[in-house]
Amino acid sequence: MKHFAKAWFLILAAVLLGSPFFAERAGAMDFSRILEPPSLSHFLGTDSLGRDLFARLVCGAGVSVGVSFLAVFISIFLGTLLGAVAGYFGKGIDKLVMGLTDLALCFPVFFLILAVIAVLGPGFWKIAVIIGLTGWMGTARLVRAEVLSLREREFVLAARALGAGAPRIIFRHLVPNAARPIVVNAVLGISSAILTEAALSFLGIGVRPPAPSWGNILNDARATLGVAWWLALFPGAAIFLTVLSANVLGEDIGKP
């Protein structure tokens, strides 16, 4: 499993590096060859505008992975910052931040995302930011617990005695010590962000066309269900494999 996951991420990395070379092919339409099943010239078949599905999947990787990385970066950053601040300062600040966390946890996240996307309109950046803004709570709780348990330890007290300021202590001493769970959270976050983006695109409110994302291609597949199985199968499989790999890796890193 682990090796498989690593291999898939290596392939993904290669695909991301190679995607600029496929951009032209992904956009090239051939109206005489719409919805053709996999063949030698289009080995994953073509879509309803006669574009090569393989090239579109390659280009879509950048979008899907890009959105999720950006989203995770935002949520990890926010979660770490809020959690560390809450844990370090305690008292009122802690109450406030944790209250905010509880509040955010009350909402069915997907409802919130849906509402915001629907009113703001879809788009790469908006989706990434909104998935990020609704995904920081777990990290915040985790980092806070970690910081709470660390802040009275000798090395922190020593740093404080030496006159180090709060930001320095938080980011030089406390957060690095919580690095492993944060990384685990980030990797798992990527898998859930990819799923969320795909679900949004699948419902037709994801990243804007013609930019391909895996979810987008899958959305096109809904209209062709029963005619073009390849349009449903391959992008779904790409999402599945990526999410699975991220989960496997996350689990592996998380092992003590």
Binding site: F31, L35, S48, V119, G204, P209, D220, A223, V227
Partner: protein, 529 residues
């Protein structure tokens, strides 16, 4: 003798169906169809969505209606007179029409409906049609005299709006009235059940003034997913559904489908177009608009997006209607002429990047369309590619409806749009192309202004005889085609599958639904009670 015999057999052949299936024999079964959305409101003049319109059409009647050939004919009015040179329309109402609760229908109901349509606290989108009405009188219970400020020929068709009962609505609290979910009309069917998000059940009105419909029940199942609707069709759980071109062409060839369903294709009452913001310097020049029109290969869009189920649009009128000038063809596909026109307009590729420029400005613009509409999205992508070939860069932005309408079109913050207009058999395009309709939120959002066109549209509104109006509209058609404020793209076809057990279906210019109350199912083929 032989001749008589033959005639006799011919007679038998022609009239055998009615002989073996008398009216009572035909009554029964249910027609289960799918609706992509839930109706919002069944009061005919409160709803602008097609789901509501489709249902309320079976529940209510207007004074007039369109027949199968799209000619206006009487509905609740048996006939009408046009007096004082078009200033007055007198409707003679049918007698013996009753509301579904048994109360008689009279001119008072028409007057009440009119008052509601023009009442500022009633949120109806159709009020505009009645602004020109000065007064409405009801000299007796079966006569309605409508007086207009000036002769207004589109006014007649506006009386196809569904009439509602005064006795049930006079104290109504608009718009939140319970009546919209428990409507009582004069129509061939009455609503008996409405389960939100799931279905509406209608039952035949035995006292319908044109005779009770044969099909006992009509069920609208709400299936928002076209894929699901199709699956339900394949498992015979619904009797009829609108199909996508792909479904129509590639998924209906199975022996099962062929034996159980008949397919119908007819031109829809709509067209899809590119509208240019004429206030934008980029599109102020007619040559540029014409060049774009010539650079787009319409047939290719029709073949790819609609899989051939459609035709090129030439203007803003129903393609086969009386208002369209049949002599006007679509603008052809001619990229080299497009390039020449652009060059004449001063657009040249001086920077060598493949995109034309003029005075340092690259020819690049953004086209807006509503998202969720796969066909339009695909059309945009094809056009994008063709325009790139003549050196124009077109970006595509898909926006959610309300944002698109309010923030971009309503405020004229756009360069070009790809959208569609619904058409009705009444051709008056005044709201869309008259220069007085360019205000914020009004429909001439491309800001088209042509004095001759203005004059023609005003004139056509004052004339009643169709042949004379047609002449005017033919000229208008020519002007619009020459000016090209819109590039008219295509008229898609309505594609429908219908279960074969329904008999009496008669395709006509109005589609297949026009004689729905005459459809029937033979006893041995019935599926539901």
């Amino acid at each position: 003798m032989r001749v008589r015999n033959r005639a006799f057999f011919l007679f038998l052949f022609l009239f055998s169906a009615p002989v073996f299936a008398s009216a009572d024999e035909r009554r029964g079964d249910a027609f289960v169809t799918s609706s992509i959305a839930e109706p919002s409101n069944l009061i005919p003049f409160l709803a602008s969505d097609s789901a509501s319109a489709e249902v309320s059409r079976l529940l209510f009647n207007g004074l007039v209606k369109y027949d199968k050939n799209l000619k206006l004919t009487g509905d609740l009015a048996s006939d009408w007179d046009i007096e004082e040179g078009g200033l007055v329309i007198v409707f003679h109402l049918r007698k013996n029409v009753r509301w579904q609760d048994g109360e008689p229908f009279t001119a008072r109901d028409v007057a009440f409906t009119f008052r509601a349509l023009t009442n500022p606290s009633v949120p109806t989108p159709y009020g505009g049609d009645f602004e020109k009405v000065v007064s409405l009188e009801t000299p007796d219970p079966h006569t309605v005299r409508v007086r207009y400020k000036e002769p207004f020929s589109p006014g007649l068709a506006s009386w196809s709006v569904g009439i509602v009962p005064e006795h049930l609505l006079k104290d109504a609290d608009w718009p939140a009235t319970g009546f919209s979910r428990n409507p009582v009309g004069t129509g061939p069917y009455k609503l008996v059940q409405w389960t939100s998000g799931e279905k509406l059940v209608l039952r035949a009105n035995p006292d319908y003034f044109e005779g009770a419909p044969f099909i006992a029940r009509v069920v609208y199942r709400i299936l928002p997913e076209p894929t699901t609707a199709f699956l339900e069709l394949e498992t015979e759980n619904i009797d009829s559904a609108a199909l996508s071109p792909l479904q129509f062409k590639r998924q209906t060839g199975t022996p099962f489908f062929k034996t159980h369903y008949a397919k119908y294709a007819f031109p829809s009452f709509s067209y899809t177009y590119i509208g240019y913001n004429l206030r934008n310097p980029l599109f102020a020049d007619k040559k540029v608009r014409k060049a774009i029109g010539l650079a787009i290969h319409k047939q290719e869009i029709i073949d790819t997006v609609l899989l051939g189920y459609g035709r090129a649009a030439t203007g803003p009128f129903l393609a086969d209607g009386w208002a369209a000038d049949p002599a006007i063809g679509p603008s052809g596909f001619d990229p080299s002429r497009a390039k020449a026109l652009l060059a004449e307009a001063g657009w040249r590729d001086t920077s060598g990047d493949g995109i034309l420029d003029r005075g340092g400005r690259r020819f690049s613009f953004t086209i807006l369309t509503n998202w969720g509409n796969t066909d339009r999205k695909m059309a945009c992508e094809i056009i994008q590619k063709r325009l790139r070939d003549v050196g124009i860069e077109m970006n595509i932005q898909t926006l959610e409806w309300s944002v698109l309408l309010r923030e971009f079109i309503g405020k004229k913050r756009f360069e070009a749009v790809l959208l569609g207009w619904q058409l009705s058999p009444e051709p008056d395009p005044y709201d869309i192309f008259h220069s007085s309709k360019t205000g914020p939120g009004q429909f001439n959002f491309v800001s088209y202004k042509n004095e001759e066109a203005d004059r023609l549209m005003e004139e056509a509104r004052r004339i009643f005889p169709e042949a004379e109006r047609a002449k005017i509209y033919h000229r208008l058609h020519g002007i619009l085609s020459e000016d090209e404020p819109y590039t008219f793209l295509y008229v898609p076809e309505s594609l429908v599958a219908l279960h074969r057990r329904f008999k009496g279906v008669e395709p006509a210019p109005a589609g297949i639904g026009h004689n729905f109350i005459e459809w029937y199912v033979l006893k041995n083929e019935r599926k539901y009670r």
